[in-house]
Amino acid sequence: MPVWLREYRWRQTASAVYLSLPVRGLRVTPANIFCTDQYLKVSIPPFIFEAILYAPIDDTNSTAKIGNGIIFFTLYKKEAAVWDSLTLANANKEKLQYLRENAVLKAHEKAKEETEAKKVTKQEHKKYALEATMKLEEAERKRIEDLKEKERQKVTKELELWKKQQDAAEKQKRVQKEGELHQEVEQLKEKKKEKINKILPNEGTSETRIKVTKGCRGSYSMFSENLKEEQLPAPRSAATIKINFTSRVFPTALRESRVAEEEEWLHKQTEARRTVSADLSELEDLKEEEKNPDWLKDKGNKMFATGNYLAAVNAYNLAVRLNNKLPPLYLNRAACHLKLRNLHKAIEDSSKALELLTPPVPDNENARVKAYVRRGTAFCQLELYTEGLQDYEAALKIDPKNKNIEKDAEKIRHLIQGTTQDS
C-alpha cells in the first residue's frame, strides 16, 4: 500500500506555479519524478505524491529542484491564468486512471521523438564532419599539386634559360673559332708568301700549297689538338696484371639469399662421392690413394686393358666396398666377369649397374647401353637367348644407330628361330 504524501504547499503567479513538497529523509533522484503536461507524480517507494494539475503546463521548461528534504517545483503555465487550486477537484477514479495512462503514453512518445530527433541530428553532424574533412583533404592535395606544378614550371624555365645560354655560348665559340681560324690561315698565307718570295729568287723548288680548309669543326680542332698532344704523356707501356677470383663452383652470379641452397647442393654431391661404408680395421692397411674409389676404378681399368682380369676384379671389389653407389664400377666389373666367363656374376653386376642408372636420362645413355649389351652377351653365352635378345633390343632402343648391336641382335634372332624350328 503506497503512502500518500499530502503535505505540500503551493503558490502561484500569473505564469507559474511554485510547489514545494517535503520529502523528509528520503533520497530523491530525477528518476523518481514524472511529469507530463497535466500530471505530476513523485514516486519514492513506498511514498507517492500525485497531482492532476488544474491546467496544462509546459512540462519541458518546468523544473524540479531537489533540495535538502524538499522538492521545489517550478511549473510554467501554458496559459497565463489564475488557478483556483493546484489539482482538479472532481477527479474520479476512472478519469484518474485515464489521465495516468495518457500521461505515460505521452511521455513515451515524447521520449521516442526525442531519440529520433537525436539520431537525425547525429547523422547530420556526421555528414557535415565528413564533408568538412573531405574539403580539407582536397585543399591539402591541391596545395601540394600546386607546389609541385610551380616547381616544375620554375625548373623548366631555368632549363630553357640555361639551354639558351648554352646555344648562345656555342654560337659564340663557333664564331670565335672561325675568326681565329681565318686569322691563322691568313697568317700562314702571309708566312707562305714571305717564304715563296724568299724561295723564288733562288729557285722554284718545292711549292707547297696550303689547303685552305673551310671553317668546319674538324679542322680547327685539329689545330688545337696538335697543341694539346704535346702536353699529354705518351701512351702507357703495355702490361698485364694477372688476377685470381674468389672461387665459385656455379656459373651464376653470387647472391646471398641463394648461398644456403647452393651449400646444401654441394654438400649432397660430396656425400655421394665419399665413402659410404667404411670397415675401419681393414682399411687401416691401405694407403691414402687406395681408399679413393675413383683411383681404384682407374687402376682396375688399367689392369683390364692389360688383360689382367682377376686383378681388375679385385680392384673393383675394393672400390665397391668403399662406395657402392658408383655405376661405372659395376659396369667395368661386369666386363671383367664376361672375359672371365663368370656369366652369372656378369649378369648380376650389369643388373646392379642398371639399377643405379635410374632415372634414365640422356647423360647416362652410354652407360646404360653398355650395361644392356654386357648383360645380353652373358645371357646368350648361357644360351638364354630370349633374355639376351630382350637386352639387346633395349640397348638398340637407347642407341638405334649402333651397327654392332643391330648385327648381334639379328644373330640372336636367327638363333632363336633356328632352335624353335628344331624343337
Partner: protein, 352 residues
C-alpha cells in the same frame, strides 16, 4: 627535401641499355639493341618539355654501354662497347666510320669508362672496358689494337664475368686506378702506375656497379652496388694493411641496385637506381674522425653514415642506366627496361 620532378619522357621501340648526356649541351644519347638484333644510337635534344630526336645511327651489333669520358670538349667523341666485344669511338658528326675500333674482348663488353677527357683529370685519355670474358682492359685511343693494360685471370683459372669498371684517383699525370666488380662479388682495385693489384674484397653478392665519387681527385669514396638490394660505400682515403678500406652498407628493398651515380656538383650526394623501377637519392655524412689507429698502431679508416634524401618509383621495370648532367645541377636522365627514357629534375639540391 629534394623533390624528383619528371620533366620529359620518351617511349622508344628498342631495348635501352645506356643513356648519357652530351657534355656542354642539352642533348642526350641513348643506346641499345633493336629488335632486329642491330645496335641503335639515338641523339635527342631537350626542347620545352619534350625530347626531339635529332639523329639515329644504326650499327651492326647491339650496343651495351658508352662514355664521353676520354674525349676533349671540342671533339666530344663517344666511345661504345657492344655485344660482340668491340670497342668503337665515334665522331657523332660523321658516324659511318669509327675514329677508333678494336675487337677488344671475346664476349660482350658489359661496362666502359673513360678518364682524362672533358677537362676533368690529368694525364692521357684512357678508356677501360670490362667484359663477360673475365678481363678488364685499358685502351689508349692513340694506340691501335693492343690495350695498354690487361687484367686477366691466371692461366687455368675459370673466369668470372666482369660487370662493371670505373676509373679513379687520376689527380696527376701518373696516378690512376681502375676498380672492377665481378659477378661473384669480387671487387678489385688495380693501380695503373705500379701495374699491380692494390686491393680486393668480396661483398657476397654480384657487383652491379662501382663508381668513385670523383675521378680526378685523390680517391675519396667508392660506392659499389650489388644484387639483393645492397650497396657499400668505402672510404678510400685510408687503407689498412689487412682490413683494407672501411665501409658502410645499406639495404634497399630486395631488388638489384643496377646503377650508382654521383652528382657531379656535389660528391657526397649520389643516386641509386633499383630493379623495382625506383630511384633513391642518398647523402653521405663524414664521421668526425676519418681515420683512427687500431690496436697495432696501423691507420684504419672510419666509415661515415648515409641518409636517404628522397625516393621515387618511376617504373615497374628496372632502371638500368642513370646519368647526371654535368652542366645543370639536378638534371638527370634515366633509362629503364620498359623502353622509356626519362628526363628528371631533382630540386633543392643546394639546400641539402
Amino acid at each position: 627535401r629534394p623533390q624528383v620532378v619528371s620533366h620529359a619522357q620518351q617511349a622508344l621501340n628498342y631495348t635501352l641499355f645506356d643513356c648519357k648526356w652530351v657534355p656542354r649541351s642539352a642533348r642526350l644519347l641513348c643506346l641499345g639493341s633493336a629488335a632486329r638484333g642491330s645496335g641503335l644510337l639515338q641523339l635527342y635534344e631537350l626542347r620545352g618539355g619534350r625530347l626531339a630526336l635529332l639523329r639515329e645511327i644504326e650499327k651492326a651489333k647491339p650496343l651495351k654501354c658508352g662514355t664521353f669520358g676520354a674525349t676533349s670538349l671540342q671533339q666530344r667523341y663517344f666511345a661504345t662497347g657492344d655485344f660482340g666485344g668491340n670497342l668503337n669511338i665515334w665522331n657523332l658528326e660523321a658516324p659511318e666510320i669509327p675514329v677508333y675500333s678494336v675487337k677488344g674482348h671475346k664476349e660482350i663488353i658489359n661496362s666502359i669508362d673513360g678518364v682524362g677527357g672533358l677537362g676533368i683529370g690529368e694525364g692521357a685519355p684512357e678508356i677501360v672496358t670490362g667484359s663477360r670474358d673475365g678481363t678488364v682492359k685499358v685502351w689508349d685511343p692513340r694506340q691501335k689494337d693492343t690495350p695498354v693494360a690487361n687484367m686477366e685471370p691466371v692461366q687455368g683459372e675459370s673466369k668470372r664475368d666482369c660487370w662493371t669498371v670505373a676509373f679513379g684517383n687520376a689527380y696527376n699525370q701518373e696516378e690512376r686506378v681502375v676498380c672492377a666488380g665481378y659477378d661473384n662479388g669480387d671487387i678489385k682495385l688495380f693501380d695503373l702506375k705500379t701495374m699491380s693489384l692494390r686491393w680486393e674484397t668480396n661483398i657476397k653478392n654480384g657487383v652491379c656497379s662501382v663508381e668513385f665519387d670523383r675521378k680526378d681527385v685523390n680517391m675519396n669514396k667508392l660506392v659499389a652496388t650489388s644484387l639483393e638490394g645492397k650497396f657499400h660505400v668505402f672510404d678510400m682515403r685510408t687503407q689498412h694493411p689487412t682490413k683494407g678500406f672501411a665501409s658502410v652498407s645499406e639495404k634497399v628493398q630486395k631488388s638489384t641496385i643496377w646503377q650508382v651515380r654521383h652528382l657531379p656538383q656535389n660528391r657526397d650526394i649520389f643516386m641509386t637506381s633499383g630493379g623495382a623501377g625506383s630511384l633513391h637519392l642518398w647523402k653521405y655524412e663524414y664521421p668526425s674522425q676519418r681515420s683512427k689507429k687500431d690496436s697495432e698502431g696501423a691507420e684504419m679508416g672510419v666509415a661515415g653514415s648515409l641518409s636517404l634524401l628522397q625516393n621515387v618509383t618511376l617504373s615497374t621495370q628496372p632502371i638500368s642506366s642513370l646519368d647526371w648532367s654535368p652542366d645543370k645541377k639536378g638534371l638527370c636522365v634515366c633509362g629503364a627496361f620498359d623502353q622509356t627514357v626519362r628526363v628528371l629534375i631533382v630540386t633543392k639540391l643546394n639546400k641539402v
